[in-house]
């Protein structure tokens, strides 16, 4: 089956990205370094779905550690095969009712946008991170792909909620719905992000704004001028945290181990040279650099401060509105490209998605565009998208 790194069951209706663990199935996050690693337990989100009677269809391909655009750089898939994101495509094609993915640097939201399905990255702390192949702990979150907002809400009701196995999981009760009243709500379009997209995406934004008006939602354009700073900041924090979290993949304990080493240093170097792709190596280098003694204060330390500024600025902006509308991608399809350009390419494209990772607010991709809201305002986003989806029918 083309979507899957490991196919598990014909009875399955839920696909799970290979960044989440399913007990007994290889969990490699698209990387050779984890080749052969079979976890002893499943991710909390997977356990909760199975407890409700859902069956997992298989582990969908992801780009190595979810660092690329949509999954084009997986050790286990040809890049031309995976230019839409395997989990998103599985849902778009009807091969799966819904899919779980970790949104760490926007790959899942981009895949949803170009595949024409919905994906919700919930508020940080909503879904347990227990059982994910963690990279950027401070901003990654398990999210849901589905055909529509209602489908997303249905799965979120199963997987959300406190888990004591995750210290960042919030002690909160949730109830998700995509059918709350939206008439009279106010949505702003973030000008700086809309301008970064191509004509096709701009037209999508314009069409979405029209559809919002039909739902009785007021729309206006606003300026939010720290999107680039927010993106750079998230890339600093994300590379640092990822560098640290993938350090454990060293060939000593599990996963891939290179052969022909003479001592422990050679074992590390050969294993990691052969086990990681060029993009991961770039992330490791940038991450090591921003954490190094001579750069920490100017990069990571400052990044933590900017994170607070962006959160405050966004709170100020969103005070007058119920949600913000913006692109999720610069264009509606991606072509194959060389991995030597991957770091810069993903960096540039992440400007649309980084804010939500950086400050932990919810973001919903629907109809090829992105809605972002206040913390815990998932139902506002889902209901707005739900209305537009019904209008379109």
């Amino acid at each position: 089956m083309k979507y899957y790194a490991e196919y598990l069951s014909d009875a399955g209706t839920i696909a799970v990205d290979d960044t989440l663990l399913v007990k007994g199935a290889q969990a490699a996050a698209g990387s050779r370094i984890l080749e052969g690693f079979k976890p002893l337990f499943s991710a909390e989100a997977v356990d909760r779905l199975e407890a409700e009677g859902y069956v997992i269809s298989g582990k969908t391909h992801v780009g190595e550690f979810g660092l690329d655009l949509v999954g084009e750089f997986s050790y286990y898939a040809e890049k031309a095969e995976n230019l839409k994101g395997a989990a998103a495509e599985a849902v778009a094609d009807g091969a799966a009712e819904a899919a779980l993915a970790v949104d760490m640097n926007g790959a899942a939201r981009r895949a949803a946008a170009i595949s024409g399905v919905d994906f919700l990255k919930p508020t940080y702390g909503t879904v347990s991170r227990h059982g994910i192949i963690s990279c950027a702990a401070s901003g990654e979150q398990v999210g849901v792909y589905a055909k529509d907002a209602e489908g997303v809400a249905k799965i979120m009701n199963v997987i959300a909620g406190h888990d004591e196995k995750d210290g960042t999981s919030l002690k909160k009760e949730y109830s998700f719905a995509a059918d709350e009243a939206v008439s009279g709500k106010r949505v702003c379009i973030i000008k700086e992000l809309a301008e970064k997209a191509d004509e096709e995406v701009k037209a999508k934004i314009a069409a979405y704004a029209e559809a919002l008006k039909k739902c009785g939602v007021e729309v206006e354009e606003v300026s939010f001028d720290i999107c680039d700073a927010a993106n750079t900041t998230w890339q600093i924090l994300m590379t640092a945290e990822t560098c640290n979290n993938v350090s454990r993949y060293d060939g000593v304990k599990f996963g891939y181990r290179a052969s022909g080493y003479k001592n422990i240093d050679e074992l590390y170097v050969k294993t990691r040279t052969e086990g990681f792709n060029f993009l991961t190596k770039s992330v490791i280098l940038y991450g090591s650099d921003v954490l190094s003694k001579h750069r920490y204060d100017d990069c990571y330390g400052k990044g933590l401060k900017v994170r607070r500024v962006v959160a405050d600025r966004f709170a100020e902006l969103i005070e007058k509105y119920d949600a913000a509308l913006m692109p999720a991608t610069s264009k509606m399809s991606y072509e194959a490209y060389d991995i030597s350009k991957a770091f810069e390419t993903v960096f540039k494209e992440s400007v649309f998605t980084s804010i939500a990772n950086l400050i932990g607010v919810p973001a919903l991709v629907s109809g090829g565009v992105q809605l972002m809201g206040k913390q815990f305002d998932e139902n506002v986003l889902l209901s707005i998208a739900g209305c537009v989806e019904k209008e379109g029918e």
Binding site: L21, F41, G167, N244, V252, K253, K293
Partner: protein, 472 residues
């Protein structure tokens, strides 16, 4: 020229917790075989997140209170990055920016008089695993991985090896008494920062750090060796001192350079996003303070006032389980001296018979108090009290029920004792005659025979007195 030593200490102490710091694997003393206390979390598998062990925070704060520190009500964890096979995640979770305790003070009594040692900070962290080298192969044992540690960092306030040893002994006594750590060989490790300067000088000399010493004796020898090396270098220019990390070799008694500080690894510390800041609110702080063991000196005075001997006080304070048990049974109304006898002599005797030590003593205060009270009130005699204690320690029986079952609490009147005594004397004519002929030992045999007839019931002192009277 006269020289002055300047020494600062970093002491790592393994905490006495049931489980590891971020997972539910057994703590420092739980492992028997290599890798038998290991789970996906402490072996660095993806998917597991650290979950804070509350008890670690409480023990670390208690240690801080014992060392007169300020306790941070807001404390956070950082990651320290380095590659080593015994460190499964390739980073250690420790505290850099907001350690749990700061600004403490320890008063030492040395042969030179009283000395104040300032504590810079105490922080919590996880231990690393162990490498075992066999021939050309190396094996990794993760049992010690993520066992909780506190690191106590002093200011450079020590001026002699003696002061260092007095300080370490004081830490050991306090931490053992407080149930914070066993502080045994291997669970207490020390890094010594040492430099030498001409007496009266304000400037510090070139500093070396001697890493990872476990015995107080090595620490003392290492300091003496290193001080001499520095003084020779300054006085006779035997070598040029550089700031460096050294290790002490127990066999040669010398220190050797490990690596230069200049080329030291950059640990790339940064905050751990998986662990939320720990907030110690007023309620929790009061709870920690309420459970804090009394300061050692106060405690010792209390025991002294109750007439307990210095040797016994030392044993009690050295063993947290003993002091807790003793305090509890005294609270329940037992006589302190009597309780000390039961715990340090009788319990220790039973434990010894089973190849155990006093630190292994595990008996509920209720059961211990019940036995002491039955004996002290004369309800049962001491011999039967001892039998009951053995049954409690070995089979965990209920003392009152056990006493009843075995009839230890039966009363015998004087007439019955008289009758039994007459019978014994009639049956043991030889012994009686021996006694009459001046053999003192024979009386003991007659007494034993009486006790046997009485099946251990009755007060031995009363019976002895009656026998004496009868024999004239």
């Amino acid at each position: 020229m006269k020289y002055e030593l300047v020494i600062g200490l970093e002491t790592h102490v393994e905490l006495n917790t049931e489980s590891k710091i971020f997972c539910s694997c057994g703590g420092h003393s739980a492992s028997q075989e290599p890798n038998d206390c290991v789970c996906p979390a402490c072996s660095g598998m993806p998917g597991m997140l650290p979950v804070m062990n509350k008890h670690v925070v409480e023990l670390a704060a208690t240690a801080g209170l014992l060392l007169n520190c300020e306790i941070s009500r807001y404390t956070t964890f950082d990651k320290k990055n380095y590659y080593y096979p015994d460190l499964p995640c390739a980073y250690q979770i420790t505290q850099l920016n907001h350690p749990i305790c700061t600004n403490g003070l320890v008063k030492l009594k040395t042969s030179e008089g009283e000395r104040d040692i300032r504590i810079k900070q105490i922080h919590m962290e996880e231990d690393a695993g162990k490498l075992v080298h066999v021939g050309k192969a190396s094996y990794v044992d993760f049992n010690r991985t993520s066992v909780p540690l506190i690191e106590i960092v002093t200011q450079p306030d020590f001026r002699s090896a003696e002061e260092v040893v007095v300080y370490l002994n004081k830490l050991k006594t306090m931490f053992r008494a407080g149930g914070i750590s066993d502080c045994e060989l291997g669970t207490m490790r020390c890094d010594v920062n040492i430099s030498v300067r001409p007496e009266g000088s304000e400037e510090y000399g070139v500093r070396s750090e001697i890493k990872n010493m476990t015995s107080f004796e090595s620490i003392e020898r290492a300091i003496r060796y290193e001080a001499q090396r520095h003084m020779d270098a300054i006085e006779f220019e035997t070598e040029v001192l550089v700031q460096e990390t050294r290790r002490f070799d127990d066999v040669t008694g010398k220190t050797y350079a490990m690596r230069n500080k200049e080329t030291e690894a950059d640990y790339r510390y940064f905050p751990d996003a998986n662990l939320m800041p720990i907030i110690i609110d007023d309620e929790w702080f009061e709870e920690i303070k309420a459970n804090m063991p009394a300061a050692i000196d106060e405690k010792a005075d209390e025991y002294r006032a109750a007439g307990i001997s210095e040797n016994e006080i030392e044993m009690i304070i050295d063993n947290h389980n003993v002091s807790t048990l003793l305090d509890a049974v005294v609270e329940m109304g037992c006589d302190p001296k009597s309780a000390v006898g039961w715990i340090l002599t009788e319990c220790a005797g039973v434990l010894r018979k089973n190849g155990k030590l006093i630190k292994d003593l595990d008996i509920s205060a209720e059961k211990m108090a019940a036995i002491i009270k039955m004996v002290d009130s004369g309800d049962i005699n001491r011999m039967n009290g001892r039998k009951t204690l053995t049954a409690v320690l070995e089979e965990d029986v209920d003392p009152a029920a056990y006493v009843k079952e075995n009839g230890f609490d039966k009363k015998v009147d004087t007439a019955t004792i008289e009758a039994i005594m007459d019978k014994v004397l009639a049956e043991n004519t030889q012994a009686l005659e021996d006694f009459r002929n001046g053999k003192v030992k024979a009386k003991q045999a007659l007494f034993g025979a009486c006790m046997r007839e009485l099946k251990g019931i009755g007060d031995p002192a009363v019976i002895r007195e009656m026998l004496d009277k009868k024999l004239g």
